[in-house]
Subunit: 336 residues, 2 copies
Amino acid sequence: MSDLRPRRPTIVDVAAAAGVSKSLVSLALRGDPGVGAATRERIRASAEALGYRSNALARALVQGRTGQLGVVVTDLTNPYHADVALGVEEAATRHGLGALIAHGRRDPDRLATHLEAMLSLNVDGLVVVSSRVEPEVLVTCARQVPVVVVGRPEELPAGVDAVANHDAAGARRAVAHLAELGHREIGFVTTSRRPAARARHEGYADALVELDLGAERTWTVDGPEQVGVALAELLAAGCTAVLANNDLTAVALLDHAHDAGLELPGGLSVVGYDDTRLATTVRPRLTSLDQGGAALGAAAVELLGERDAGRREDRHVVLEPTLRARASTGPPSPRG
Amino acid sequence: MSDLRPRRPTIVDVAAAAGVSKSLVSLALRGDPGVGAATRERIRASAEALGYRSNALARALVQGRTGQLGVVVTDLTNPYHADVALGVEEAATRHGLGALIAHGRRDPDRLATHLEAMLSLNVDGLVVVSSRVEPEVLVTCARQVPVVVVGRPEELPAGVDAVANHDAAGARRAVAHLAELGHREIGFVTTSRRPAARARHEGYADALVELDLGAERTWTVDGPEQVGVALAELLAAGCTAVLANNDLTAVALLDHAHDAGLELPGGLSVVGYDDTRLATTVRPRLTSLDQGGAALGAAAVELLGERDAGRREDRHVVLEPTLRARASTGPPSPRG
DNA sequence: GTGAAAGCGCTAACAT
DNA sequence: ATGTTAGCGCTTTCAC
């Protein structure tokens, strides 16, 4: 660092300025009741005058805890993930903790690197907003600090907590909504085969049976680009409504439907999942399931707190999503 | 922390296991050439066996630098801001540094709190992705570590560097694009009066003169909700194209135009700014100006590096945005 | 090539 | 009510 930047003052400097010992400075500045009012004021004034700022590193070193939570997110540009991070941050603040956020870019290696970095920064707990972290990595982390995964990884090792959205319930909710509107032939289109998508599919299939609707019709495609094919088949199969595995897929369906000249939502009703910003931007506004990212983040912090308080057995929390009904769903138009 | 979590091993433990002094462990593990090959291997093995992980806090305390950059962002849910954070992180990695991200939620107080927290964590530099931080706060920060602001604050105090997108050039580029398509009456709609929006307006007005187009017509409204009014007036005034201060405003224009039954882009061409995910999602796809968030972030890290290397005078870097032409702009349809 | 000792800035027992 | 003394885990002279 350039030598022109002045060395920052320490408690020793403040102590000298106030004419007391450094321990007294430490006590006074942290509001210890056993410090004389006059002395305290003198110390506070000297600290102020010197522009003293306590060194969190030194404190953390001696106390053995940093007061910081680490949040490692798969993809910050995904608003849902950003929401979870936000929820963690907010809850952490309420617990008197800070939150450090890192971005993994959907890359398991990068995620592992960040977790490693957070560990060596001695965070007091770790929130992993990703289902792509290797189980072994999670185990390593959990040996050092409490860890909670937000989402649905393929495999969740013992020793780490989890909080997830109830994907199956969300999908059931979507199907019920469509059924209420009068739809009976409802399709499911997914661009993912990961656990969350599988759970959503399961809820969808169950709901069809429960509500005595038409047969299950599922399309698994490799990306939003291939959604067009699914749409064509879906319409040919007589579906009047479709549940997508997420908003991106739903928007792709909407797009293709629009291109095909379909009347929306009469010709086709579409439900997304995640309730991202997309949902309230596209035309027609997309009906979607809100995972409640902030609540998930807050729940994660709760779990960390419990661990810290001594809990030993693992906990897996599941939160109910909320349906946000918008213009992309409506009664089917009468068939000609 | 629960007492069951084993104390993590330190160099002392490794030293004991390898039968050497702790200083030698320190040297060996950091690859100091002056350590015997056999000893080095023995130490490495013991460290491995114990699962030793160096404590970044302790190192930082003695070295006086943490190797971490602090990134404080106004709004992480804004993909543009997330992009900048990404760019910083990537560039930091290249420089062998880490990046800690914090979220300010558009709240100057919260931003200040986070900056404060980062300072007491002794970050080696600060990237402020926000134009809402109080100048005094920036000055305080800059007294401790190099600071660079990404964006256009109302006021930029001496001692802090800045990197910004060339807003005026971007707006000029947009007007030129519209002019090439044959538009002559081009409006400007903004939902902000902040410096970035003002710079964009300036570029817009200059371009109209330079290209000898119709008169300047500007609407300043208080939010995307009021864009409808602006649209009506704009059409009544004979505009065939409009530049918005950002994508959100542009999308609102698109929406209202759609509701009004206008043919797009024939009836109205719209250009946004920021090239967010919205741009490639809405119909028609939005022509927009890409600030190049990642590049801005990388530039910020460059500036921090220069400061660290001893530069004393302030630098303000300006980067050219790129026009992404899409379906929301096209030739005006012949007037009836 | 290796070890001993000092100290980064702070907190926490333990004096006084 | 205030001061003294040890460290926290690491790096860094400076001896050997």
